[in-house]
């Protein structure tokens, strides 16, 4: 299960790797496009300068001679264009009347007259794409005035090669940076996730029975996780403890009555007198009933304590609990003659508790009072000194001082008042603790009072 789980669940490192890859890829695409655009631009500008240089060179070589305009086309202009070694060259010089002075007769015309400046344009040259530059030069001589136009063009091989070269270099650098970033990211991620590894190792290295809080040093982001883990382990620890308590309780509480039963049974087996044997059997019967009652209570307590520790606490009105317990009438079965009075106020008594465990606890208190105290017995709920309180009062004097000291502890022992009142109290105390409250026993003017005090819930029940 665990193996399958780790296989299916995406790892944190994997997520980060994917995120970094996507980031790098997107960045790489953007930078590549930028590099290509830049390469084109740079190549365009560099070779446009060659064109203008050559065109100006030719324009400067035009002079007004006796036979009109003369062009001494300079070799230097073509050597300049020759820097783009494999490109074909187009050129044309138009005189002031627009007649071709020299060069190719049928070159594509510039889109507009380059008056005083330079005009670049793209057009074909004998079936191959080319780039042209057109410049003009003004003549203002005695018998010759006007503008001559020089067009110089070149095919695009060198431009494209240069643009490609720039792009290629940029991409090489980019690839290098990309690889470096990936490696750096790997190092960073490993370092950042290191504490998690340490946590994992710390947990894996633990003794299976060690449920103490994890105290490995982890970064802030992981502390919440560790806290949750510690809380979880705390609950497991608590439940284990109550289970241990239950078992030891059971062993402790059952040992004596079972031993007594066996003694009585031995006695009965060896008793020849039928009357006395009957008396012994009656005693065995009575003891067995008590034992059954004790077992019920122990199981109830285990259940209640388990619930109190694990069930979700909700808002309850303690008056409802008191009413429910009083009306359930369990006490009538124990001591039919005892009178039980309900005493609740007008205002609600809200508290956060598990209703079932709480009513079980109160039931236990009531049964104790009915069984061991004196009539009349009162049950009620109210707000006392800022705490929610549910209580049971009987008119008797309560247990003696020595027993009082032991009450509230788990092992009160049945010998105290017979029939296991201590167990009932310990249930009530455990429930009160589980709800962050306490069980208080005191002897007052009106009799013996057992009360469960809980923190008052902030919102009042409407």
């Amino acid at each position: 299960m665990a193996e399958a789980g780790t296989l299916r669940a995406p790892s944190l490192t994997g997520r980060i790797a994917v995120a970094v890859a996507v980031l790098l890829l997107a960045g790489g695409v953007i930078v590549s496009v930028a590099a290509f655009a830049y390469g084109r631009q740079a190549a365009q500008e560099a070779y446009d300068r060659l064109l203008v240089g050559a065109a100006n060179d030719i324009a400067a070589s035009i002079s007004a001679g006796q036979n009109g305009l003369e062009v001494a086309v300079p070799v230097s202009a073509f050597q300049l264009l020759g820097l783009a070694a494999n490109d074909r060259v187009a050129y044309r010089v138009l005189d002031t009347r627009g007649e071709v002075l020299t060069g190719y007769d049928d070159l594509p015309e510039p889109p507009r007259r380059p008056l005083g400046g330079v005009v670049f344009y793209d057009a074909d040259f004998l079936g191959e794409p080319a780039r042209y530059a057109a410049v003009t030069r003004r003549f203002a001589e005695r018998d010759l005035s006007g503008t001559v136009e020089v067009i110089v063009g070149q095919t695009l091989l060198a431009r494209r090669a240069f643009a490609f070269d720039i792009t290629r270099r940029a991409l090489l650098v980019l690839a290098g940076v990309g690889i470096a970033m990936v490696m750096l990211a790997a190092v960073v991620v490993r370092t950042a996730l290191g504490p998690l590894d340490r946590l994992e190792q710390a947990i894996a290295a633990r003794d299976p029975h060690d449920l103490t809080p994890v105290d490995t040093d982890v970064p802030r982001e992981a502390q919440a996780m560790v806290r949750a883990l510690n809380g979880f382990m705390g609950r497991i620890d608590q439940q284990l403890a109550s289970m241990r308590n239950l078992i030891s309780d059971a062993a402790h509480q059952l040992r004596t009555p079972v031993a007594a039963l066996r003694a009585q049974a031995d006695l009965a087996a060896g008793e020849p007198d039928p009357d006395r044997r009957d008396a012994i059997v009656a005693r065995i019967h009575s003891r067995t009933k008590d034992l059954g009652h004790l077992l019920d209570q122990m199981l109830a307590r285990a259940l209640v304590i388990h619930r109190a520790e694990s069930a979700r606490r909700e808002l309850v009105d303690l008056r409802d609990i008191a009413l429910e317990v009083a009306e359930a009438g369990d006490h009538a079965l124990i001591s039919p003659g005892v009178e039980v009075a309900l005493q609740v106020g007008e205002s609600p008594v809200p508290a956060l508790a598990d209703a079932l465990s709480l009513s079980e606890a109160v039931k236990n208190l009531l049964n104790n009072a009915v069984r061991h105290g004196q009539s009349p017995v009162r049950i009620g709920a109210g707000v006392e000194a800022g705490r929610a309180c549910i209580w049971v009062v009987d008119s008797g004097a309560g247990p003696d001082a020595a027993l009082m000291a032991q009450l509230g502890a788990r092992f009160a022992g049945e010998s105290a008042r017979g029939g296991g009142s201590g167990l009932g109290l310990s249930i009530a105390a455990a429930v009160a603790r589980a709800c962050h409250g306490e069980l208080r026993l005191d002897r007052g003017a009106e009799g013996f009072r057992a009360a469960i005090l809980l923190p008052l819930a902030p919102e009042a029940v409407s």
Binding site: E70, V71, A72, V73, P74, V75, A77, F78, Q79, L81, G82, A85, N86, D87, R88, V89, V93, L101, T102, G103, F125, L126, G127, E128
Partner: protein
Amino acid sequence: MSARARLLRLAAALVLAGCTAPAALAQEVRESFGPADAPVRLSIRSTTDIAAFGPVIRAFLQRRPGLAVDYEQWGSNDLFDLSQTDCRGGGRAADAVISSGVQQMVKLVNDACAAPYRSTFTAALPDAQRWRDELWGISREPAVIVYNRTLVPPAEVPRTRFDLLDLLRPQATRYAGRVATYDIESSGLGYLFAFADAQEATTFGALMEALGRTGAVATCCSAEIIAGVAEGRYLLAYNVLGSYARAAAQADGRIGIVLPNDYTLVLSRALMIPRGAAHPGEAAEFLDFLLSPPGREALSQVLLVSPLTGKESGEDGAALSETALRPISLTPALIVALDRQARAAFIELWRKSFPAE
């Protein structure tokens, strides 16, 4: 083939050319190599003498059976005009065009008349002998000074252009009127060499002035110039194509050759495969052969690939250092040589020294 048969053939070709070709364009000689029934006939047009190029073509056909070559020999200007016409769809293009007028070849390539080709052999060519993978320099021929061994004493043989200037400087120099060079107006090659000289050094202006002052002779054609030197009509000839000069020198002991030490122009005949070629694949094979070791060997046998530097040639005096070589690069800069205005201006300048007869 006997000389007589060749002469008859030449005469027939000339008559044929006179009957059918347009008036301006005249094919000089035509010869076929290889089997008459070959499935593919490669058509080559060239300015190179058949006598010189024939052995090279035979060496090619030996290695490449099933192929025949129709070789046409043309004057460089006519070949240029014809190729331009072919390029514009006016005629049936040859499969390969080879010309010593490399400026014209560069112009043809610039005018998008050539088809590209690339192989390990073409890629191995130096940049100066290759342009756009459409034009390749296949030969290596220096521009040399030719002199008459009997009439020019060894001490006076000019080793550089400065030596030549010194010979022409004295008032009553015996070289006056007895130095020859190409007439650049009628010889495309002469124009190219003069144009390259003008780019190369300022010596050219002084040289032109000296040649003009001493009444040097500007005339056409390598053969005529070399024959003139051999016969003693001229003592010296400047800027003669080395391949022809060396062939003549091998046959005639009176002819001496100098590769100028200050710098020596080196021409590389250019080959292109026209866009309209019917057999571009076979033409490319021919090109690869010319650039391959056996092709280089065949070309150097006919002196079209000439040893230039000391370590390549055994001969004394004909060798010079690598740094003095000035190959005429196949670059767009040669287009200027064909610019109508530039050409007119250059010829006008030249005419001042060599008035037309």
